[in-house]
Amino acid sequence: MLTLKNIRYAWPGADHDTLVLDELHIPAGRTVFMHGPSGCGKSTLLGLMAGVLLAQSGSASFLGREWRSLAGGARDARRADHVGVIFQQFNLLPYLSVLDNVMLPCRFSALRAGRCAGGTAAAARSLLQRVGLPQTLWQRRADALSVGQQQRVAAARALIGQPELVIADEPTSSLDAARRDDFMQLLLGECAAGSSTLVFVSHDERLAARFDQRLSLPELNRAQQAA
């Protein structure tokens, strides 16, 4: 489902490679825990997986197609159709309501909107219910919520329309222990329900046990080893 081979990536203007990868293959439906301290190339790898960044050499193929073979606009459209992303914080547009934020991916992807049974708004409401957000908050502005609530909304947003790949970049780092456990349970449950592949990046190794596969980025990234 997601295959990276012989990747070399350097940020523009950098004098050495940030990421050098021999091979990484993630089959569909698997939950992957990617572990690594800050600065080891996690964000770069996520960018390459989601087709936001293009490696200088090597192949990155997602759902059988090379990201490189698509033009910029087509890559964005493909990402809109098949990928959901959760950041560590600031996941939501502050001036939109909670419901509008959850529906955002469907405004950019007709495919995902089409997968919503009963319409986008209905799917959004049902997701918000499943992530445990009280109904009174649904029409509130996104920046009126607490961090824990915002992260749950972010999960709902990433999952609407059942994207094939969900990328989570340290989503629990700004949550306390209780919230973190709730969030993990929620995320893994929803991904299983929608048969989505989950790539979860974090520096907190205690979470690794819940996942199918565990990868260590410093081991994978030969650029790091060389340095």
Partner: protein, 428 residues
């Protein structure tokens, strides 16, 4: 994309505190541009509507623009009078159909007084060859019995609250009598209002019309602009004097055929007994517009600069806020917006702010016209039409919008580059 437009709108509304100042400055610029254009058009049309059907205006040899200004628009003063003999000589020219003599120089509470013959009501036309119509009453009789009769324009009646039968006194000179300066008042010879003209939208509205004989009568015991000491002629006795006017200020001339206009003009210019000048109203107005044209262009240039400054401030405000919005842009990238969507988003925000400002400015300009219209009409005889926008105004409005959209591409482009560089992980 409708989705982008709606997100743009919400995003702009979110920062409406900061953007409000920009909206106001764009509104000011638009209001300036539109008001200037409206004023320009209305002044021109007011002036060209003020007299029609008159082929030549004859007066002392001053200048075409000055002659038009005092004879037709009752603005400014004549340097010299012309003798009634000359007017009669012109009337006898074979190509001339009618002549209406005009006598100016007095005023009533700031409104100019015009002395003329009864032919004035027959031959004077304005706008689209429309004749003068009386809303109430009748024209002055210009007979000895009806010597002290006046016909007032619609604006005089409205602003001073006069009706038929009102008694008024005239003042010498054109300045309004301040603090009741009785020395220059023809207080001993009051007039009665016998007619009120319907509104014309021309300087006729603010004029008080009396007969030429009446003008002679009130100046019988005056010399050099002041009453002769010790000599007071009562109103009834004035009738016994010869009240035929010897001098008038100007004359309106109508010809039997338009083709003869240059012949008659040359006849008047070559008239040996007195230095005279005959002008075609249209030609004189063109000269006037050429003279003020430079001033208009300067005002227009300044307004355009104001518009540019306000658009620059729009760009500055949006650019300044871009850094804080990097995370927001990353979220948009994550849900599938590409860099060009980000460009469109920012550009649309700028365009929406410009539109809001331009609409506000257009409304303000219209309101200003409504508010100031009556005052301008009263003071200058120019009617500001609160009518539909002209093509030139639409053009200015569109120019402001286009400029705003172009200017918004600057922060849009910046956001595009930032979004490309940041990808999903902005460095903030």
């Amino acid at each position: 994309m409708r989705a982008l437009l709606s997100i743009s709108l919400r995003s702009a509304l979110n920062r409406r505190g900061t953007l409000m100042l920009v909206v106001l400055s764009i509104a000011l610029a638009t209001a300036l541009l539109l008001s200037l254009e409206r004023l320009r058009t209305d002044i021109r049309s007011s002036f060209s509507q003020a007299v029609s059907g008159t082929d030549l205006v004859v007066g002392a040899r001053t200048g075409p623009v000055q002659l038009m200004l005092y004879a037709v628009f009752r603005v400014g003063g004549a340097t010299n009078n012309i003798s009634m003999d000359s007017v009669r000589a012109i009337a006898q020219h074979r190509a001339v159909a009618w002549v209406v003599p005009l006598s100016l120089g007095d005023s009533h509470r700031g409104h100019p007084v015009l002395g003329s013959s009864t032919d004035y009501f027959k031959h004077f036309a304005y706008g689209d060859k429309q004749p003068l119509v009386l809303a109430q009453g009748r024209p002055f009789a210009a007979t000895l019995d009806g010597l002290y009769e006046a016909v007032i324009g619609a604006e005089v009646a409205q602003s001073l609250g006069y009706g038929l039968g009102q008694r008024i006194t005239l003042s010498h000179g054109l300045a309004p009598s301040v603090g009741g300066d009785l020395a220059s008042e023809h207080a001993d010879k009051p007039f009665t209002v016998v007619g009120i003209l319907a509104r014309t939208g021309t300087p006729v509205d603010r004029t008080v019309h009396v007969s030429l004989q009446a003008i002679e009568a009130i100046h019988l015991d005056w010399a050099g602009g002041a009453p002769l000491p010790g000599m007071r002629i009562a109103p009834e006795f004035a009738r016994k004097f010869d009240l035929e006017p010897k001098q008038v200020t100007a004359a309106l001339v109508g010809l039997k055929s338009r083709a003869a206009v240059f012949n008659v003009q040359r006849f008047v210019a070559n008239y040996e007994a007195e230095p005279l000048l005959a002008v075609l109203p249209g030609v004189a107005l063109d000269e006037l517009w050429a003279a003020v044209g430079l001033g208009e262009k300067a005002l227009l240039a300044i307004s355009a600069l104001v518009a540019l400054v306000s658009l620059a401030s729009l760009v500055a405000v949006v650019l300044a806020g871009l850094n804080e919005r990097r995370r927001e842009l990353a979220v948009l990238r994550a849900v599938g917006a590409g860099p060009r969507h980000v460009l469109l988003l920012l550009a649309a925000e700028g365009a929406l702010v410009t539109l809001a400002g331009a609409l506000l400015g257009a409304a303000a300009a219209a309101a200003a016209v409504l508010a100031a219209g009556p005052w301008v009409q009263e003071r200058f005889g120019i009617s500001l039409a609160a009518s539909a926008p002209t093509a030139a105004q639409w053009g200015l409005f569109a120019a402001v919008l286009c400029a705003g959209m172009l200017a918004s591409l600057v922060p849009g482009w910046r956001a595009y580059r930032m979004s490309l560089a940041d990808g999903l992980s902005p460095r903030t």
